[in-house]
Symmetry: C2
Subunit: 374 residues, 2 copies
């Protein structure tokens, strides 16, 4: 299965009308940036600190957390985990560099953001009843609900600890930003839960929820390194604006992958978001579009909400719903939304003074977010 969510990749040169080569996404010297290496650097610098932070947890929480991060399997044997894309750590290190500090300055910020992100995954998976994450059973499924709650709490506390033990004024400011982002994260999950019980959700409500659930913490990742590196609040705010819109672009792509993603790549089931009746952007946009496909989709989803044998739906039934979403324009609108948010993010980036190389790297990471397949 080839997956081309947003048209040709921005890194694949297109031929213009006069035969010249044109990039489709405006980026500062994208060819000069190795995104894979940037992500790898984030992982390499942050993971050892993250692991030693998790090692501080009292048993059995250390083991449960290690399972969650994919460092051990359910039997406690070492595992080579899929630690995720590691976009946030890469951003936190670049954030420090944007303020003229070393990438290492951003490491406690990268680790704190990862801890908060994983705290929210542990709790959200339990609240949502999700049984799989990153190709594996979720923590509540393996270790029980109490451990999922407890270890989530512990990771949240650890995030603050990692920052505050730096003992600097900057660390206090960074923790405050992380706290604001965490509150938004929790607001977003509250909205997500309440929307599940509603028949209709507007596009605006969906975007607000996604801004809270994804935008706020990505924004914090992009400011936290700079704050630790001594950046002022105005600079940090502008960096957060880049991160927030990047987060919305990221989530729009996630919503596309949640319906049309390749299960091999995403680690989720086919039609994953449809199975969970998620009112994600493509669904909400399709329902708002009007027209025959939109109306037929609305009727089907309303019936699904009351159906008792939804869980035994065939692949064909989900495929039919996905086709209606696409026909009503929900897929194309969401792809376009990802491009819009990407453009706004890049605009914010241009407002901050930073080394050219760092700007090019942040820009390339933004490109990566909208073309990724997982």
């Amino acid at each position: 299965m080839t997956l081309d969510l947003l048209g040709p990749s921005p890194h694949e040169p297109r031929t213009g009308i006069r035969g010249e080569t044109v990039p489709t996404v405006p980026s500062a010297e994208p060819a000069a940036v190795d995104v894979t290496a940037l992500l790898e650097r984030g992982r390499t610098l942050a993971t050892p600190v993250l692991r030693s932070a998790v090692d501080r947890l009292a048993p059995p929480m250390d083991t449960v957390a290690a399972y969650h991060f994919g460092w051990i399997d359910a039997d406690g044997n070492p595992a080579v985990g899929d630690g995720g894309k590691a976009v946030r750590p890469a951003l936190a290190l670049l954030s420090a560099e944007a303020a003229g500090a070393t990438p290492e300055t951003g490491v406690p910020g990268a680790v704190a953001v990862e801890l908060v992100h994983n705290f929210s995954l542990l709790h959200d998976d339990l609240m949502d009843g999700d049984e799989q994450r990153r190709h594996r059973d979720t923590v509540w499924k393996v270790h029980g609900p109490a451990q999922a709650i407890l270890v989530g709490d512990a990771l949240f506390a650890l995030a603050n600890e990692i920052l505050l033990e730096l003992g600097t004024v900057e660390a206090g400011r960074a923790t405050r930003r992380l706290t604001t982002a965490t509150r938004a994260l929790i607001d977003g999950q509250a909205q997500d839960i309440s929307y599940e019980h509603r028949e209709r959700v507007t596009v605006e409500e969906c975007l607000e929820m996604e801004g809270n659930k994804t935008g706020a913490l990505l924004a914090c990742a992009v400011s936290i390194g700079a704050v630790l590196g001594g950046a002022d609040d105005a600079t940090a705010d502008t960096l957060e604006r880049y991160g927030y819109h990047l987060g919305l672009a990221f989530q729009a792509v996630d919503d596309l992958l949640g319906i049309w993603g390749d299960p091999e790549a995403t680690g989720k089931q086919t039609w994953s978001d449809l199975r969970q009746r998620k009112k994600s952007l493509p669904v909400v946009a399709a329902l708002a579009a009007g027209g025959p496909a939109s109306e037929r989709l609305g009727e089907l989803l309303a019936a699904d909400a009351k159906s008792n044998d939804f869980d035994s739906f065939s692949e064909a039934e989900f495929a039919a719903r996905a086709a209606l979403i696409e026909e009503a324009g929900g897929r194309e609108w969401t792809a376009e939304e990802a491009r819009r948010q990407h453009a706004v993010a890049i605009e914010a980036l241009d407002e901050v003074q930073m080394p050219d190389q760092v700007r090019a790297q942040l820009s390339a990471l933004a490109d990566f977010v909208v073309v990724r397949k997982r």
Copy 2:
């Protein structure tokens, strides 16, 4: 039912061997201190700030939190709640005064500690399956498990927010102490859960768990106001020592009330801790004591652990277990432990320089903790 856990109240003068009047608990001028007024002052200053903090939560979390705090009932109507004893807010204000600051300086600390305390109640009640708290159904029972998780998370984040938005170096130090206490709280809950699955727990393990679950946050309440008022770390550490041992005394009394407390006063069922198979101090001490009653108790509890109809046990069956605990010496040992921890707390208090009046008030609060009936 009259309940006299620890012998005559320390405020009731006893007659000595030479006919003189002797207090049973050494306190600095206890007669001069009105503990009820101290607790009331804590409530009066902290509650409005707590309520406006909770008002920041997005719906429906604000409503769920208001229910938890007893400000509204399950239908959303205003209620005159039992907000608990409010020992922690009273301590946080005295803590500020111990450092020579105004009681108002301690208010954000008092509110942050209350938020963390209630975050832990929300999550612990869910993890433990407890259906009642303060004479009312618990949040997970009324609003569902997801809301209990979510609102607990939100209160935890709010605690950090309240402190960090002060924007001072002292606030950063206070947040760090609160984070350390929260981590201990979580460690204690992890131990509590793991002990439930074990046949035997030592007295030392039980004390360590209670130090984490109760001592650490009470310690933080006693240092946080002082830190916000500019106290140095050595002073804060000594104040925490007072608070930690006060917490252990508090928990020993709680453990006595959990078995022999008056349900009317405590708001819990008769034999509450026995019904929940809690390995609290009286149980653990009785099992460790040896002798016929201790051995018989051990056999009974081992059989209970495997019993399928434990939930239908009669009052008489719990009463028999309580009598064995008392006969084996578990009740008296725990009462003695409360007195020991009280004495250590008062000793620590003597190591800190503070106004005489504040010392007398902290001392009187310590006395209150060991003679309370709820």
